[in-house]
Amino acid sequence: MTNKNNLLAGELERLGISRRTFLKFCTSIGSVMALSPAQAAVMAEKLVTVKRQSVIWLSFQECTGCTESITRSHKPSLESLIFDFVSLDYHHTLQAASGHAAEQAREQAMHDNQGKYILIVDGSIPIKDDGVYSTIAGMTNLDMLQQVAKDAAAIVAVGSCATFGGLPKASPNPTGAVSVSDIVHDKPIINIPGCPPIPVVMTGVLAHVLTFGIPELDSMGRPKAFYGDSIHDRCYRRPYYDRGQFAKSFDDEGARKGWCLYELGCKGPITHNACATVKWNNGTSFPIQSGHGCLGCSEPDFWDAGGFYKALSTGTNSPGQWATAALAAGAAAGLASAYLNKSSKADAEKDHQPVTLEDMGGKS
C-alpha cells in the first residue's frame, strides 16, 4: 500500500491545508491555465493522489534568478506547495549536501527512478571547446545533461537560458552557449522561458505534468496556456496604443497618464508570456504597470534584438550608417561610370569615320 506521506494528501495534512483551500488553489491555477472548472476539479482529485515525484534540477550557465523566482515568495504560498511537494533530489543551490555526496544523490535518484524522474534545467549549455567553460564536479554541462536526460521521463527547461540560450548566448556568444532543445532531441521538452519565468507558471506547468501530463505546447515548446497570448494582447494600456497615445519619455504627461510605452521601446507586441494577466509578486504588478516597457525576456535572442529603449519598428543594427556608406559608395560608382561613359563616347567620336559619296561608289 502506498504510504500516505508519499502522496500530496499527506503533505496537505501535515501543512494543515484544508481540502477546500486546496480546491481553491487548483481552481485558480486552472483558471490561469484556461482549464474548465470541471478540469480543475479533476486536477485537484488527481493531485492529492499523485506520488511524490522525483525531480533532478540541473543548473548550468545561469544566474540563479530562476531558482530565486520560484523560491522567494514573501510568504509560503499555495503555489509553492507543488514545489515543496516534489522530491527535489538534486539542486546545487537548495540541497544541503555538497561535493561527492551531492553527486551521489543525483546518481542515486537517477538509478532509483530510472525513466520516471523529471529533469528540470536552468542555464544554457556551453559547447564550444568541448564544453570546458562550465563544469560541475569535473563533468562538462554537456556531458551531465546528456547523461541525466537519457533516463528522464520529461524535461522542463526553465528560464530563457535553458530554453533559448539566454544571455550567455548573446553575440558574440563566447562559450558557444545553446539551449536544452539544441542538444536533447528524443525526450519531451517543455520550455518555460522568461528571465526569470513567473513562479506560478513554473508550478502550474509542474501541476499539469503531474496530473494530465505534458500540456499543449506552441511551436517553440512553450505551454500555450501561459504563452498563448502576447503581453500586448492582454495589456491594460492597449487602448492607448490603439488610439496612438504614446508616452514620449518616462516622466512626461503621457507617462503619468499611463499611456502606451511603445515609443519608449516596449516589446510587448511580440512577447508571449503571462505577465499582463498573472503578474508578479502575488499578482501585485508587472513591468508595464510599473511604467517600464516590456523587454521581451521570454522570446529568443531578446538581448540581441536592438536597444531596449528603441521602438520595435527600428532596425537592430544602425541602418543609418549603412545608408550613408551606400550613398557615398553609390556616388563614387556613379562618377566612375559617368567617366567611363564619357570616355567611350569620346573614343567613338575619335574613331568615327565619315562615309563619303566616293566610298559609296558615287562621283564627287
Binding site: G244, A305, T314, G320, W322, A323, L327, G330, L335
Partner: protein, 215 residues
C-alpha cells in the same frame, strides 16, 4: 528559423542590406543621369529654361480632367502612401533612427483611413490597367511587378496592425520583408521615379523653355 529569428533578421541584416542597396542604387542612377548632360543646342537658346522647368514639375503634378477616374485613384494612392509611410508613428521612429530627424506622427485612425484609401486606389489602378485595352497593351510584366511590390507592404502592414492573418510576430516580419523588397526594387525598376520624377519633369520643361516653348 522561428518567427522571432525571422523578425530579427528582417529588422537587422535584412534592413541593413535593403537600405544599402536602395541608397547605393539610387545614388548611382542619379549621378549617371546627371552626368549625361544635355545634347548640344543647335539653335539659338532663347531662355534659361529654369522657369519652365519648375512649371513643368508643378504642371505634371496637377490633375487632369482626361482620365479623371484613373488619375484620381492614382492621386489617392500616392498621397495615401506618403501619409502612411511618413506619418505612422512606428515608421517615424525608424526614420529618426536612420536620419536623426523626427517630425512626429499622426493618430492611428487617420493612418488607417489612408491605408484603406491607398489599397482601394491601387486596386482600381490595377483593374483599370487590366481592362483598358490601350493600357493593357502598354503594360509589361515589370509594370505588374512594380505594382505588386508597392501593394504588398500596404496590405501586410494593414494586416499586421489589425492582427489579421498570421500571428503578429510573423506578420510584422513579413511586412518588414515586403518593405525591403520594395526598397531593393526602387533603384532597379521604374519605381526609381520616387526620386527621378522631379529631375525628369524639370528636364522636359526646361528643354522646352530653352527652345521657346512655354510649359
Amino acid at each position: 528559423m522561428n518567427e522571432i529569428e525571422l523578425l530579427n533578421w528582417a529588422r537587422g541584416p535584412g534592413l541593413a542590406y535593403a537600405t544599402a542597396i536602395m541608397f547605393f542604387g539610387l545614388s548611382i542612377r542619379v549621378i549617371e543621369i546627371l552626368s549625361l548632360g544635355r545634347p548640344e543646342e543647335l539653335a539659338e537658346v532663347r531662355d534659361s529654361g529654369v522657369r519652365d522647368g519648375w512649371l513643368m514639375i508643378l504642371k505634371r503634378s496637377l490633375p487632369e480632367v482626361r482620365h479623371w477616374k484613373y488619375i484620381t485613384a492614382s492621386y489617392i494612392f500616392h498621397i495615401g502612401l506618403l501619409v502612411v509611410i511618413f506619418f505612422f508613428i512606428p515608421h517615424t521612429h525608424l526614420f529618426r533612427d536612420v536620419f536623426g530627424i523626427f517630425w512626429g506622427g499622426w493618430p492611428n485612425y487617420i493612418i488607417d483611413f489612408f491605408t484603406v484609401l491607398s489599397i482601394a486606389g491601387m486596386l482600381y489602378t490595377l483593374v483599370a490597367r487590366f481592362y483598358d485595352p490601350a493600357r493593357r497593351i502598354l503594360s509589361k510584366m515589370s509594370d505588374y511587378l512594380a505594382w505588386l511590390v508597392t501593394f504588398l507592404p500596404l496590405v501586410t502592414g494593414y494586416m499586421a496592425f489589425h492582427r489579421l492573418g498570421l500571428d503578429y510576430t510573423t506578420m510584422l516580419a513579413v511586412h518588414i520583408l515586403s518593405v525591403e523588397l520594395l526598397m531593393i526594387a526602387i533603384p532597379i525598376s521604374k519605381l526609381t521615379h520616387v526620386v527621378t520624377f522631379t529631375m525628369a519633369r524639370w528636364y522636359t520643361g526646361s528643354n522646352q523653355g530653352r527652345r521657346g516653348v512655354r510649359s
